[in-house]
Symmetry: D2
Subunit: 388 residues, 4 copies
């Protein structure tokens, strides 16, 4: 139960990918509030992301979103990232912001539009080859708003066929990661609404096709850590999109809404072999900082994940197993809670200092003057955003 | 149980207000898809709304949204509406699209911003005086995204004080209507999240302050018709914002997701004395036609409300009461269902024809050529939308 | 769109299995209210179930629940059923009412208890051999109430191993049907909580292992007809447990809470090839008549399913497909709604009369005197119930 | 932020009432699992409850449930309690386990049954006079299962009239506490489903009528601490029924499902003046220990409430207020989280030792031999339970 050198060592295995779009403007359908200093291009987004890694040592890679992060020269972008101490990570496709996709993309009835959507994904893989990215993450906004609007079965079959063509182009060291979401932007049905559908689709593709679990994409009262357990058991938990929610897909700071749930999720990742060097499950953030500062918001987020990981690593596993085997419900639960209630923050401050990182990353960032600098420098141009 | 002349007569009492913004562009945070022929100013919105009334006889008034529908000359707008056979209705305030309101409006800690938000409402009442509107509808986007972000109690008190000032300016024939919503755009707490809060706030103001019930603004599994019953019992059901939802505040066509729920709601409105000439509860739509045609979408919506009203009027009340009194659960429920399952559409077609309206309003609108005309005429300019 | 002879003929393919336990007492954890005339043994339950079939022609089989319906002589029970014009159907196992199963059955850590639970299922198959039943339906109450209480992964693996042993004993003409449920009686996690888990488990077993979908066993706002579509697409929709819910697993009369949802479900069953002679998906009821009369409650239920099936058969499929292909959202949805809003009850009354059935089954049952007879006859003994 | 003598002193103000029924058998509608040593009468329940207080110093009173806890001699029961170091607390009425109440109690259409239900409450007040109880807690199971089953408005009016009669009998130092619940045991509507309804009802009665908030009785995603804030603001938060839930009214150990939510609730109680000597809000537990040991389950529960109270008392209020006033979202939220993440358990162990209590109450209870003693002694007789 103590924070040991082994705990410290296992924490070194942690890497949490940052989304480039978290540094751009975001908002709700009602309003996007802007902030001073917001990046105007992918290079500035990466510079901001690098600040998070600099102060925490936790986020060595940055995910891109195409076309939001399209550049003329990906080698230059890659070099820019490396110069800032980070690398380019997952490439996310986008088939929800073109007028052609109003009624669907990979599921569309019109083969021309389907072709366009497939080609977009092939282009993403081309970009992955240039950026050195391993994962192509596909989140489909496809769905319908009204019963009868389209044939759900036909759509599912067309998605399967489209994915097959995309998967055929994936390299041997690359993966296709299929995300699911229960609703939004479609309000009657989403074509990939749940883990079961994503699992059935990627299972039909092959070994390098896996599932992405976004913690905000479930029905109320879904037990998310159960899904983590099951997908790891089935060998298909490719990655996480971390964030937190009280109601729908709120995209709040991970751990802000239900820290105990985050703890339970990470417990299952570790237990199921998905964590760190032994595992193959990518940790990513997918959040909106609509009203709070973006860089500190990301710092807070990766720290939350690290803190919960530390707590999860503290569980007294032999005691837990013994209590479970004895059917001692209260002791087994109590063993979990002991780890959750342990305040790991002092140990993590030490862990950071021992690794040349600031004890208090948020204070260190605030003291660095970076925020003032970008607010002063980034004048003119168009702030990056979702482009809705 | 038959559709009688009395049914026909009671249906003549129905009026369903249309929202001007339903004719402009709308969408999700991901994308707003545009449509040809979308209005570019309030005058064109009213012309479109008048089409719905022309073909259905059900929507004699149009609600405005300030500042979206601000014009230089409200008398001209009023005359324009009358020329098109409709009148101006409810005025909706908007305190969610100004950078100042990022952390709140009537609830804001800063008295300057509160002042600005109060003044906006006073301006709305000035406009009401010019448009001849009865109702000022207030929906507050105020809330917080994170626990601790602000003091919820202080916010509630500031809203109470702000509303008091606004209410003092309301005319003797006018009403202040306070809407509630469980979440969005705020994701930890909304300041007016439920009917209880809205009721407590308007009760503190006075008789001409009432509640607006938006059918999409509740937690999953909330029994909405119960709230209708309760607010009518307490004398505080001012108006409806009709729409339908499968998940969150989906803003789909009313009756599209759960027609039986719409039926039950209208049953309670009639039973509670809120319907028609004897009642004081305004029926309004508040919907988004993100992917479907907007004018036919509104026609479909008012027809749905009328059809369910007709069904509700068909309930055999003496039989229902007798079964209830006898504790005969199956017969009582069966009496409700008999009315719901009755196909009133042929009778309503006749009803329309007898009143000089088209038997099939959707077909009549399609045949009118209006859609083609506006698509051809409305070229250039900026299409109206939510302005997010 | 008209009710044709083809509609009538397809309706003849319908069979809805009744649960023997629907005729016994049921209730909530707070109270079981008894009713006069409730059966005291499986023979009386079958006699009651036969009444439903007699008046509707829709329910030729009765599902058994072991041990609730254990008898000494299953051949006699089978003959008794046949004498009453019905047959014995699905056999349901029960591993939730023995003290040994407090912490699980097929998932239990203790091999002795697992053995006992497996043996119970083997005994059920023995009974199936005697009753001529095709399906063994397994609903596991297994789960945990507190995080950490047990290892979820280990439980999943133990269930897989247990099911494998049971499946090995299933005959060539028999099926293992695995039901899922999100919660209750376990409140932290259920071992088979969702269709994805049930699908993964039965897929590992083999072709004759399929999924049972109980319409009351999902998270709020789950799109159930999507799951119907997906399971049929994957060849794994074995059966339905029909009922309806407003909140949790309310077990109300099917179609009572959301008739439009029932319609959409049946639309997908037909579209996916699961209906009638071409299909392999069993329709069953699984309901509680806690406060309403039980036999009329079951009559009402099978009629609701038939009425929605008739509506679903009325959909103008060529028009629907054309509207979908044209991306005409309103017309496509309207085509669905036209069928839903059609009042099929007069045609179904005729359908019944043409087949020697009463036009109004509920009235006919009421007039038959059966209820009075069983209330008078069934005095003494212990009324059947869930035995909780 | 440090645990000071002032923190310690404020913690002394805490009292958490135990429910007598938590020591009896409980379960789900599927099965009640029994445990050795379960009390067989109210005297034994009180003896068990006294064990919780003995080891924690937190639970000086025990709530009774009538008729479950009916005795011939309440003076003797009171004396028995005092002998064990506790006092008798809230009296809970029960109108859900008599056949007469199948369709309602205070809301029933039949005046005879209403009379009976009112008289039951008058009898409860008689008992309160004998036990010295302050609060009459009323939870009504009244509701309907099917739309149309009864007239919801009429039921509401009858409840109002019934409560008026009960309230008239309440003594000057006594209170009527009205609980609300969204569903169960009724599945279409509950007559008192939400805080708004309970608030409207008790406001009509008078000052000594207040609301009881059971943390498990809300729709999914309801912000409970907002309701706490609002009811305290309106002067109507009479008491809590603490427990926790993942899905419905799971009645798990308080703090087990979402400890952060419990923290936020207590933060609002303290902020709103409801805590301790300055407040008037009673803390009670209302839980089921279906599978875990009952006495340790209650010890764990009161400790959870105390731990969260300690954390809530640690919030750096001046810093919080400053960050809120500055609109510094991240710092304000961070200030809350700092308190939540502080491990108060060592300080609380010291707090206990300084007051002559065991540092580890669960270990102390286990070492006391009490469990073994009651298991050995309480042989024969009928174990207490809900009596369903």
């Amino acid at each position: 139960m103590a924070f040991t050198s082994q705990t410290a060592s296992r924490l070194e295995e942690q890497a949490i990918e940052l989304p480039s779009w978290a540094f751009g403007n975001s908002g709700t359908r009602f309003k996007v509030f802007t902030q001073p200093g917001v990046p105007r291009d992918p290079f500035e987004k990466i510079a901001d992301a690098a600040q998070v890694h600099k102060h925490t040592g936790l986020s060595p890679t940055v995910a891109l979103h195409i076309p939001w992060d399209k550049v003329d020269d990906y080698a230059a972008l890659r070099e820019h990232a490396e110069d800032h101490g980070v690398a380019l990570g997952t490439v996310n496709s986008n088939t929800f912001q073109d007028d052609d996709y109003k009624l669907g993309s990979l599921a569309h009835r019109d083969p021309t539009i389907r072709r366009k959507a497939i080609d977009h994904h092939l282009e993403c893989i081309d970009i992955m080859d240039m950026t050195g990215s391993r994962d192509l993450k596909i989140w489909l906004a496809d769905g319908t708003n009204y019963p009868g609007q389209d044939d759900m079965r036909g759509r599912q079959d067309r998605i399967a066929a489209s994915l097959e063509e995309i998967y055929a182009r994936i390299g041997d060291e690359q993966r296709l990661v299929l995300e699911y979401k229960i609703f939004e932007p479609a309000f009657y049905h989403m074509d990939i609404p749940d883990w079961g559908t994503s699992y059935a689709q990627v299972s039909a593709l092959g070994e390098r096709a896996v599932v992405c679990l976004d913690t905000g994409h479930h029905a109320p009262s879904t037990n998310i850590e159960f899904i983590v357990m099951q997908l790891l058991r089935l060998g298909k938990l490719g990655s996480f999109d971390f964030n937190s929610r009280f109601y729908a897909d709120d995209d709040l700071i991970v751990g802000a809404a239900d820290p105990f749930q985050l703890f339970r999720i990470i417990v299952e990742v570790i237990r199921g072999g998905g964590y760190g060097e032994e595992g193959d499950t990518a940790f990513m953030l997918d959040q909106c900082h609509n009203i709070e500062d973006k860089i500190p918001g990301q710092i807070r987020s990766v720290l939350n994940v690290q803190e919960m990981t530390a707590r999860a690593l503290l569980i007294d596993l032999p005691s837990l197993d013994a209590a479970q085997a004895a059917g001692d419900v209260l002791t087994a639960n109590g063993t979990m809670m002991d780890a959750f209630y342990t305040d790991v923050r002092p140990d993590l401050a030490t862990w950071r200092q021992e690794r040349g990182l600031p004890a208090d990353p948020i204070a260190a960032y605030a003291a660095s003057g970076y925020q003032q600098k970008i607010a002063a420098d980034r004048v003119g141009g168009t702030q990056a955003g979702w482009g809705a």
